[in-house]
């Protein structure tokens, strides 16, 4: 007798929650556990900070909640489409309607740390409501729930949209541009805010942050109760709409064949050039850059960040960064190409099985990267310098351009073989074309490492330019060539000696080594420290250190939120230097501690 009964909605939701919790329990090992604890504690600090805002500075509560909303919107895009613990594909054969499965999946989505942390943050609403009496508290509580569901739903719908519609170069590039712009806003978004005086309680910005879904709770608490109920009802209606949209998207995703991020093509591809060695690898790589949506998205992110960041400063009429657009693009493009071998997956076996192909492989990848990034960076640099009219910048551009290009081409292949982050083989990736299946926090650490290492290769050139403006060009060309050649050489030698280890790291993961001596892994307090350092070190280094330094050098008056510039002049330089030192120390700690603690066992395997 076939069993035809479908579990009811409540039972289905309950099973999803249990399954999600079981998945979480089973994945709470090693780095995953550290990440959970680290991000969990950071999230809790932010959540209680939000409640503190509701108590101490209630005027800023709507904008604080808007930041949480942005987190839910951009979080999944930044980490490559969002990791889905419960994939809709798992449940495609359940005899239930898409709507019912979507509701149950939604319940499962709440059984995680992020919604819990966000709920604590949203308890700021009843806290804020206390000012308006008991009714305010009640409305605040209800609004906290509806706001939480709305935020999670928006996030889910965005993930579903990306998974379903990023199927072409244009959409992949669009996601990349949005991401790059969002990162640029995070680093330089203060400039337009300062320019329009966003820190006062100007009426329009107050209305804006209340119109956003994150601000409805505040609006409801402040409103007379009939209107408050109407707002809450409207919130519930929006949730119903989002749920319907999500169910529709899920149903479409499950029945649409995943194509692994391949853009559509017309016509027969151009034949390979009849050549060999590094050139043939470069030809293959150029095709991969053009045919892989992940790479297209990452490049779009890098270049849009490079273009938008200097433009934001124009709000303060500061043209300082515009000439350096191309240089920023090089560093960002290097950061997004740092996992070259990891992105290809186990295809490395072919290089390893061809006698002596390692050298050609590394050199070819360098060549292709230079061809992809170089011309665009040169054009952006020249355009930036010409448009901005900053003639003092010419020696810097002409010197740093070859230095950074060469340094980038060297660093990416070196890190690709020394710090590979294994992902899922491209043909086994799931319904989300922009996710490589790699450990996102490890990939992010690698990107940060590139962000520091590539500019470091240009330091000799910067020194030469300070000595004599035009000495930089020769130094830049020389060091660029040296780094590209030398680091590439180290890379292909290491690929020759350790290629098999890399292949098996990608095939089987890092498990065998970690299982041996328990001391090989980082102690938990260091792992938390390293993650926190990577996450916040940019704060003292860039906005509180380097930016005020540049502003002081160029005599820009606006003090913004730069601590140093608010202090008496005597203390300004010491504060700036202190901040830069703190940032560098945190990065140094984050990079060196894992290297030191991990090096003995990996040396022993040679």
């Amino acid at each position: 007798m076939a069993h035809l009964l479908t579990p009811g909605p409540a039972a289905l939701a309950q099973h999803m929650i249990r399954m999600r919790l079981a998945l979480m329990r089973n994945s709470l090992r090693g780095d995953n556990a550290t990440n959970l604890y680290t991000y969990g504690s950071l999230g809790l600090i932010l959540a209680f900070g939000t409640i503190a805002v509701a108590v101490l500075w209630p005027a800023y509560l709507p904008i604080t909640l808007a930041l949480w909303l942005f987190g839910w919107i951009f979080g999944p895009i930044l980490i490559g489409g969002g990791s889905e613990a419960l994939r809709p594909e798992y449940f495609s054969m359940l005899p239930a309607t898409p709507g019912r499965i979507a509701t149950a999946l939604l319940a499962g989505a709440f059984a995680g740390p992020a919604p819990a942390v966000n709920l604590i943050a949203l308890l700021s609403l009843p806290v804020y409501g206390w000012r308006f009496g008991p009714a305010g508290v009640l409305i605040g509580l209800a609004a906290a729930l509806t706001t939480l569901i709305t935020m999670v739903m928006i996030s889910r719908v965005i993930v579903a949209l990306i998974g379903l519609f990023v199927r072409s170069r244009a959409t992949a590039a669009t996601v990349g541009i949005v991401t790059g712009t969002a990162i640029a806003l995070c680093s330089n978004g203060w400039a337009p805010v300062v320019a329009v005086g966003g820190t006062d309680t100007a009426a329009w910005s107050q209305i804006l942050v209340r119109v956003l879904p994150s601000g409805w709770g505040v609006a409801a608490v402040e409103a007379p109760w009939p209107l408050a109920l109407a707002i809450l009802a409207a919130g519930a209606g929006v949730i119903a709409l989002l749920l319907a949209a999500w169910a529709g998207l899920l149903a479409r995703r499950v029945v649409s064949a995943a194509r692994g991020g391949v853009p559509p093509r017309r016509g027969t591809p151009r034949p390979f050039p009849a050549t060999g060695g590094a050139r043939i690898i470069a030809a293959k790589e150029l095709r991969a850059w053009w045919r892989d949506l992940v790479r297209i998205q990452l490049l779009a992110t890098a270049f849009s960040f490079a273009v938008v960041t200097p433009l934001l400063l124009l709000a303060l009429d500061a043209w300082v960064m515009v000439p350096f657009t191309g240089l920023i693009a090089i560093v960002m493009a290097a950061a997004s190409s740092a996992n070259l071998y990891g992105a290809d997956g186990t295809a490395l076996w072919l290089t390893l099985m061809i006698p002596g192909a390692e050298r050609a492989d590394v050199r070819g990848r360098q060549r292709a990267w230079l061809l992809v990034v170089g011309p665009a960076a040169v054009v952006l640099s020249l355009a930036g310098a010409l448009v901005s009219g900053q003639t003092w910048a010419w020696p810097w551009i002409l010197g740093l351009l070859p230095a950074l290009l060469g340094g980038g081409a060297g660093i990416i292949v070196l890190l690709a073989v020394t710090s590979l982050v294994p992902g899922t083989d491209p043909h086994k990736r799931g319904g989300n074309p922009l996710s490589t299946g790699a450990d996102e926090s490890a990939e992010t650490s690698l990107a940060y490492l590139v962000l520091i290492a590539v500019p470091a290769t240009a330091l000799p050139t910067a020194g030469a330019i300070l000595l004599h403006p035009w000495a930089g060009i020769a130094t830049g060309v020389l060091t660029g060539a040296l780094f590209a050649w030398g680091l590439g050489r180290i890379a292909y030698r290491r690929l020759g000696n350790h290629g098999i280890d890399l292949l098996n790291l990608m095939k089987h993961g890092p498990a065998p080594q970690a299982a041996e001596p328990a001391g090989a892994d980082l102690p938990i307090q260091h792992r938390i420290g390293v993650t926190i350092s990577y996450t916040v070190a940019w704060l003292p280094l860039i906005p509180q250190g380097l930016v005020p330094m540049v502003m002081k050098i160029f005599g820009i008056e606006d003090r913004g939120w730069f601590l140093a510039l608010h202090l008496p002049p005597v203390w300004q330089w010491p504060t700036i230097i202190f901040m830069i030192a703190v940032g560098l120390l945190m990065y140094g700690y984050a990079i060196l501690i894992p290297m030191r603690l991990n090096s003995p066992p990996s040396a022993a395997t040679r």
Binding site: A274, R287, D344, W349, M353, P355, P512
Partner: protein, 255 residues
């Protein structure tokens, strides 16, 4: 000096552990030159791990492997020139079409462009991949992936073919094509090693068999010796000591 008298593959005491799990434990195998060798064993027996160590794609914890007398780990470059490999489940240059993959790998091996073009065309045609001229490898079906993998292994005309599960997920027509190619390769003096758990197939193709179970060789030698009087399947079930289940339980299935 390696000569044709040397075995196509000889492994001595190969061992590999992943963490606490010993996948391959002291494997000694000798594959005579010119033979068609079948490596059989249940799932998880260590076939793939053994072959990966034999061809130089996985570093053994102990032991050594020689291909026509060339040590795989000491003289890697020369050993790799002698073999064509189809590993199980490894990725390919996914963003290339079948023709591009073969062209690219042939040129990377330093073969002459006209030879590469000629062999590529022939391989694609024989393996019936020439109709998918615009399809990237990432979009290939499992069977097509096997076929392009086989083409990659054959392209440089190696002396020894090492194929891990070459017939898995391949349709009967394509399987017949692949069998034909492999028989011709062996008849022309080439040596072939395939791993499989389809006994009928191994009986049909191979003249030498090695049976692996729990990371150890439990029987090896000419097919007739290993299977004895019965079928290879009976001999296999007897050798690996498995109990053919499926007769008890599941009563509710028949109601």
């Amino acid at each position: 000096m390696p000569t044709h008298r040397e075995p196509a593959l000889r492994t001595v005491g190969l061992r590999k552990a992943f963490g606490d799990h010993v996948a391959v434990d002291d494997i000694h195998l000798t594959v005579p030159a010119g033979s068609f060798y079948g490596l059989v064993g249940p799932n998880g027996a260590g076939k793939t791990t053994t072959l990966a160590m034999a061809v130089g794609l996985l570093r053994p914890d102990a032991g050594s492997a020689e291909i026509f007398g060339v040590d795989v780990w000491r003289d890697t470059v020369r050993a790799k020139g002698l073999i064509g490999v189809l590993p199980d489940g490894n990725a390919m240059p996914e963003r290339l079409t079948g023709r591009e993959v073969l062209t690219y790998l042939g040129l990377l091996r330093g073969m002459r462009p006209d030879v590469v073009a000629e062999r590529t065309g022939e391989l694609l045609q024989v393996l019936e991949l020439d109709s998918a001229e615009r399809t990237l490898v990432i979009e290939y079906s499992t069977g097509m992936r096997k076929k392009i993998g086989l083409a990659v292994a054959l392209l440089h005309a190696p002396r020894l073919l090492v194929l891990d599960e070459p017939f898995e997920a391949v349709d009967p027509v394509s399987a017949a094509t692949i069998k034909g190619i492999l028989r011709r390769f062996a008849a022309g003096g080439g040596s072939v090693i395939i791993s499989s758990h389809v006994m009928a197939l191994v009986e049909q193709l191979c003249d030498q068999v090695g049976v692996i179970s729990d990371g150890r060789v439990v029987a090896a030698g000419p097919l007739a010796d290993v299977r004895g009087a019965g079928t290879l399947e009976d001999a296999f079930v007897g050798l690996v000591g498995a109990r053919a289940g499926g007769a008890e339980g599941l009563a509710w299935l028949t109601s």
